[in-house]
């Protein structure tokens, strides 16, 4: 972190169920502590439309499943110093990637979801974990990770320490 200003913190929601963000909200009163320690500059729970520049720590929930995710994660990576793959969908693809077992045209046919033009984002041929698309600096598996694990990871990253080991898949 640059010493001359408060750390800038963000969270992003790609192809996931938002359960990791629900678990993030389970930080409860520690959210106030986080707000005291860092500027939360972008998040599904913050009022910001564009992912800003010069972010120190970003938590990314969800796999990369469609064209919008792809565009978003590239911008997030370009503007973030330390990127955490946050939860099993970001880390492994998890439930979001179950469709990889079926060819995309069959997925669309089965779901009754025709390939529309905008505003529906195009699905990628395969759902990818975040680290298969951009460089990832740290991983926090879990479906979802517990609030305690999230807090341990967030405080470590804000302090410039590695994420404590021991988190499990599932």
């Amino acid at each position: 972190m640059t010493a001359d200003r408060r750390p800038r913190f963000a969270t992003v929601w790609l192809g996931g169920c938002s359960g990791c963000h629900m678990s993030f909200l389970d930080l409860d009163e520690r959210l106030l502590e986080l707000a005291a320690r860092a500027d939360v500059v972008y998040s599904p729970i913050a009022d910001a439309k564009e992912f800003p520049e010069d972010v120190d720590v970003t938590l990314v929930e969800g796999a990369v499943a469609n064209a919008d995710h792809l565009e978003a994660i590239r911008k997030v990576r370009a503007n973030t110093r330390v990127l955490l793959a946050f939860g099993d969908c970001a880390v492994t693809g998890n439930v979001t990637a179950l469709r990889n077992l079926v060819p995309l045209d069959q997925v669309l046919a089965t779901a009754g979801y025709p390939e529309l033009e905008a505003p529906v984002p195009k699905l990628l041929p395969r759902v990818l974990p975040v680290h298969k698309v951009v460089a990832v600096d740290a991983f926090l598996p879990g479906c979802p990770p517990s609030a305690d694990q999230i807090w341990a990871a967030v405080t470590a990253l804000l302090d410039g320490r590695p994420v404590p080991p021991g988190a499990r898949f599932g």
């Binding site: 099993d88 492994t92 179950l98 395969r126 926090l140 499990r168 898949f169 599932g170």
Partner: protein, 288 residues
């Protein structure tokens, strides 16, 4: 006069330890109090060296060896925890996770799985190798009580050995080669059509992952045993507890034919081979 028991002496991680002649290297290492990860090993079954997690380095050997299928030898100098071995173990766990479709979040064994435990214990917080995502792995739920999801099988063959060596049925075996290997029942028949399976369930208990599981443990598999309500109705309306109604223990068929059969909540109440049970609303699914 008894002769003193001969022992071997070997060096494990720089310390001298003794071992029984005939012991495997894995046994010698564990008896020395040194932890070594395993997955295909299960006490009571033969060792096959399938999972490669118990690899150790032995001075003078060009490459690591699987301790479970190596004999402890006099004078061996063994290393169990080098940087190279730690990398090999992490990679092995990653390869196991990448080979088939392991989705812990929706698995019956989530939180109790040996593969999941190994990943956490060895710092596997993501998988660097490519997921193969094989699309052709099936679930065989043809057995009345058990099912196999090949997506979660790691080919440890614990089921094969438990069935062949303990139950003596040898229903399970491995067909195919390499990545195309599958555990199969009988001559690759559906499990429910196996004529050798005794339905003992040892394979299910031996399986380290959620590949082999008892039915009734996944989404939409709950079967209500309405007949058990008779516990309550008999007690409330007739003032009798079913203990009074229960016949003396006898053969399963006789219990099945009695009016109280299945009321005690035995798991096999929905086994379709049970005779018809008076007063039971189920089971109907799968009954002949």
């Amino acid at each position: 006069m008894t002769l003193p028991t001969p022992t071997l002496t070997l060096t494990i991680d720089g310390e001298l330890h003794s071992a029984r002649p005939g012991a495997t290297l894995l046994e010698a290492i564990r008896e020395a109090g040194v932890a070594l990860p395993t997955l295909c090993e299960l006490p009571g079954l033969s060792s096959v060296g399938a999972c490669r997690l118990c690899l150790v380095e032995v001075a003078g050997r060009p490459r690591p060896i699987a301790a479970c299928v190596a004999a402890a030898e006099e004078g061996m100098e063994v290393r169990t925890d080098t940087e190279k071995l730690r990398l090999f173990r992490r990679t092995t766990v990653e390869l196991l996770l990448a080979e088939r479709n392991h989705v812990c979040a929706v698995c019956v064994m989530n939180g109790h799985c040996e593969l999941q435990d190994l990943a956490a214990a060895h710092g596997v917080d993501h998988v660097e190798v490519e997921y193969l995502s094989p699309p052709d792995l099936r679930v065989d739920a043809s057995h009345p009580r058990f099912a196999i999801d090949h997506n979660r099988c790691v080919l440890c063959t614990r089921c094969v050995r438990a069935c062949a060596e303990v139950e003596g049925a040898h229903t399970w075996d491995v067909a195919g080669r390499g990545g195309a290997s599958r555990v199969v029942t009988d001559m690759a028949l559906p499990w429910g059509e196996s004529i050798t399976c005794t339905s003992c369930g040892k394979c299910v208990q031996a399986c380290p992952t959620g590949a082999l599981f008892e039915k009734g443990a996944t989404v939409a598999e709950m079967v209500k045993h309405r007949e058990r309500l008779r516990f309550l109705t008999a007690a409330r309306q007739e003032g009798r507890w079913l203990l009074e109604l229960e016949q003396p223990p006898s053969s399963r068929a006789e219990r099945g034919a009695s009016t109280t059969a299945g009321v005690g909540g035995r798991r096999d109440a929905r086994d379709s081979s049970s005779p018809g049970l008076p007063g039971m609303a189920g089971p109907t699914k799968g009954s002949p």
